[in-house]
Amino acid sequence: MSTPFYVSPQQAMADRAEYARKGIARGRSLVVLQYADGIVFVGENPSRALHKFSEIYDRIGFAAAGKYNEYENLRIGGVRYADLRGYTYDRDDVTARGLANVYAQTLGTIFSSAAEKPYEVELVVAEVGETPEGDQIYRLPHDGSIVDEHGSVAVGGNAEQISNFLDQRHRDGMSLAEALKLAVQALSRDTNGSEREIPAERLEVAVLDRTRPQKRKFKRIVGRQLDRLLAADGASTEAESSAEDGSEEQ
């Protein structure tokens, strides 16, 4: 008869964390930045159909790095939570804080329950406010903790290096084109410090735009509009991008 090895709880948790971290690090990173009129999500994603960013509710967006099936599961759960909340009470009663709490609970439970493997995902839940001060960005690592972020945040493989880069260069009140450029710059730096080019087709970009007249502020930026923003140098593009709104829907 074999005796099971004794593994200390500290060791068990450390192993699980290590496992999850490695899983997340395999994927490409993505960044979420505040800009003057909202919040922009930028990531490298060769697929047009399998999104890393998506809409949860009117003012709330979702971004995830890691294993697709796991974060897709969480995303649908989030949409359900938000829609059910909004239907039972009111659209205003759905908040990023509430949603982040639910995600934290879910991730935390999965992380510490002995039976399952931890989820290899790292999430960002962002809510755009009426003013830049009202914006909220929450980062949710694999273990179920919540980090309240300001300005910029990066998750995924190379996150630490990218967020250092962003912290130094990001400032409040950037235009969408500026923020987008900074994000692409940050993403194109490799671990060893060398830079590589990310073509526009491989970028997935979405915004939560507070100037949008509709209730639902989430919008994907694709095609011509993305090219124009990448080509533009700063200030002049902002008016254009909001004027474009209706024409190039998702």
């Binding site: 159909a49 999104h51 998506s54 809409e55 949860i56 649908i76 949409v79 359900r80 829609d83 059910l84 909004g86 239907y87 039972t88 639902r216 209706g246 829907e249």
Partner: protein, 258 residues
């Protein structure tokens, strides 16, 4: 919605136990809704009156709602139930869009509404019927389409124009005489106001434009660019133009006899 049915079935309109009632229950009712297609889109409009028996329950009720970016619902029947049905319908379309990453087809939306009306049949038998009119822009076929329903959820596509509610017979008569194939968007909005005026003229449960209180019909236009509700100024402009003409000819424009 499947998820709702599983987790909180009491939130679904069809899943409630009905109390036994004697006779017909009195509750606010909605009234005349009209829709007209024109090249490039569809106009859906509704009057603003809710009645409870012979009492006007509300003068400025809203009975036309956007269902999503490219469709709208106008409701006739029991106001409370109808508003809830529309809320659930809106939620369902939005939920589908977010989860699947694509919109339902217009047919799909119309079918879904059909099922929701059918689930209300029990209530309808007790006199609490909901009979909506659904209109939308079909992005695949590139034209505006109208769907009408009966209390059992039977769905039928209407061509050119349609009406529902207690004043619908009068509104339909008016539209039949005024409709033509080459209406512009402005002409189509004028047409629906004419039809609503005629409905209000002959049906006590339909309200006409109320100039004194600045209550005008709700007029919505759905085109390739999406849903748009006319602002109060725009609606008042159309309504006043119609009223002005009616001062001279109370029965409205005359159609040719032959």
């Amino acid at each position: 919605m499947d998820f709702l049915a599983e987790h909180q079935p009491e939130l679904l309109p069809g899943n409630r136990q009905l109390p036994p009632t004697q006779g017909v229950l009195e509750a606010p009712h909605g009234t005349t809704i009209v829709a007209v297609t024109f090249p490039g889109g569809v106009v859906l409009a509704g009057d603003r009156r809710a009645t409870m028996g012979n009492v006007i329950a509300q003068r400025d009720i809203e009975k036309v709602f956007p269902a999503d970016e490219y469709s709208a619902v106008g409701i006739a029947g029991t106001a409370g139930l109808a508003v809830e049905m529309v809320k659930l319908f809106q939620l369902e379309l939005e939920h589908f869009e977010k989860v699947e990453g694509a919109q339902l087809s217009l047919e799909g939306k119309a079918n879904r509404l059909s099922t929701m009306i059918r689930s209300n049949l029990g209530m309808a038998m007790q006199g609490l019927a909901v009979v909506p009119l659904f209109a939308g822009y079909d992005l695949d076929r590139e034209r505006g389409r109208i769907f009408s329903y009966d209390v059992t959820g039977g769905r039928s596509e209407e061509h050119n124009f349609a009406a529902t509610g207690s004043g619908s017979i009068f509104a339909r008569g008016a539209m039949k005489k005024l409709f033509r194939d080459d209406l512009s968007e402005e002409q189509a909005t004028t047409l629906v106001v004419q039809a609503l005026y005629d409905a209000a003229d002959d049906d006590s449960a339909t309200g006409g434009p109320d100039v004194a209180r600045r209550i005008y019909p709700i007029i919505t236009v759905i085109t390739e660019d999406g849903f748009r509700r006319l602002t109060e100024e725009e609606a008042s402009e159309v309504s006043r133009a119609v009223l002005q003409k009616r001062l001279e000819e109370p029965d409205g424009p005359k159609a040719a006899l032959l």
